[in-house]
């Protein structure tokens, strides 16, 4: 593999993704920022006052890391999906498929682009209050991701769940991301930090390997 070529190609994909996110910022940045701000207002302020404290923190404080992480995760995921599938249906994915970069570079470039959008939105969620009135346009694939976020311990400690749902939650990678981040912000977590990172690494390896397999076989992108 030509490492230099692949580094340049990965940087190019990341740059392309950033240009795309900024070009359509009204669709990529504003709606998730508004959505998360509404979460803060509704769950944190209105409902949270009735709930009281959790793990020694007031409810608004408790859900803040989860909401930030949730915005990072959903936007990272949504960006990769919309960009990659947009390229597939517009057929300009062929620009990348005919080029001599590796399939790993294509995956890494898109994941990095998605993470950058997630971080940008996550940053905004921490600083934006209620300046907007528009509601977000939901992405269809969020249908899959959104239920995961509700079992991801964003709004509660999983110790409050019945044992069955605690076990279901433990199969959800978002639980580990939210708890690791909450641990970083508040110093409290449902899962030990070492355990959370170990599980996340396993998820990354399994999902990356699956993506590589799909790309190499050309499933859905080559006949």
């Amino acid at each position: 593999m030509n490492i230099r070529l692949n580094v340049v190609a990965a940087k190019t994909i990341i740059r392309k993704e950033i240009v795309r996110v900024l070009r359509i910022w009204v669709q990529t940045i504003v709606p998730p920022a508004i959505t998360m701000t509404l979460y803060f207002i509704i769950f944190g302020n209105l409902i949270g006052r009735r709930i009281g404290s959790m793990d020694g923190f007031d409810y608004m404080q408790y859900i803040a890391p989860g909401l930030i992480m949730m915005s990072v995760i959903t936007n990272s995921y949504g960006n990769v999906v919309s960009s990659f599938f947009g390229a597939k249906f517009g057929r300009h994915i062929e620009e990348m498929l005919v080029a001599p970069m590796s399939y790993a570079t294509i995956i890494i470039g898109h994941v990095a682009g998605g993470v950058l959008r997630g971080l940008l939105v996550g940053l905004l969620v921490t600083i934006i209050a209620l300046f907007f009135t528009r509601l977000t346009v939901a992405h269809p694939l969020v249908v899959v991701l959104t239920p995961l976020t509700y079992l991801g311990g964003v709004f509660y400690s999983i110790s409050m769940l019945p044992e069955f749902w605690q076990n279901v939650s433990k199969a959800n990678p978002i639980l580990y991301m939210v708890n690791a981040f909450r641990y970083g912000i508040l110093g409290t977590s449902d899962i030990s930090i070492g355990h959370a990172y170990a599980i996340l690494i396993v998820f990354v390896v399994v999902l990356f390997t699956s993506c590589m397999y799909l790309m190499q076989r050309g499933i859905g992108i080559r006949e």
Binding site: R4, K16, G90, M101
Partner: protein
Amino acid sequence: MVTIRDLMKALSITNLTKTYSNGNQALKGIDLSVESGDFYALLGPNGAGKTTAIGIVTSLVNKSGGEVEVFGHSIDSELEAAKACIGIVPQEVNLNLWESVGNIVRNQAGYYGLHGKLAKQRVEKYLRALRLWDRRDHIARSLSGGMKRRLMIARALVHEPRLLILDEPTAGVDIEIRRSMWEFLQEINEAGTTIILTTHYLEEAESLCRHIAIIDEGRIIEDARMSDVLRKLQREVFVLSLTEELPEAPALDGFMARLRGDRELEVEKGPDCDLNDLFVQLNARNIHVSSLRNKANRLEELFMRLVDSKQQEAEL
């Protein structure tokens, strides 16, 4: 200095087969060999297998069997090296229509490992060459059909490939732009780039290409130098416009003549006759010709004959 790589075949295809999941056998074992520096035409009707063959060479389609080598690099064992040699202009527009013209070409440079000053120079060089530099900040969606075609050529050339494959690049392009694209392609071919062209405009292949392969129903039915192919043509048909009406077609020695309307005469010329002889005979009969044109494109005629003879063979 000529290197061993230069002496290699630009493209070598051996017994290439492709059967799609719906059972359609698009390629039934084709063999092709394209010399380095050649300008090669791949002709065939819709559904003949041209785009499938190109798709396999450029790794957009998985092959079912056979071997493909690009400048000696097998697409099975050295795919990335093979890809680096190829520039592809697809049949259908596959641009990101919301991306700017400049970014499309610049991104493609990046995918091939070009960056910084070199990438910028190449982007400018090819956007200027394809007369798109003034449009570099416009989104691709705002371009006309001809401009989109030119943009796809600029994108394919930005890494200066040794083999340029164009799948019907002038479809839907007006005559003026088509001619300027022909000139441009001839220039880059003369500069050393091997070009493979598929086209429905047979005149295009005859004007540009030195070698021709004809593919029909997944099989190569002709593969030869253009001059040899044209030499195979036995007869040509001319349409003469006459200054006066004729009651019936004249009997001409060595020619077959028939009337096409009142003042048009269709004359079929054999390989051993020349047009001077035709005009001598017409003059002797006091028939005056105001203009003359070749009825059919010669390649088109050849193509139809080859396809017909294959069908007749199949019926027998």
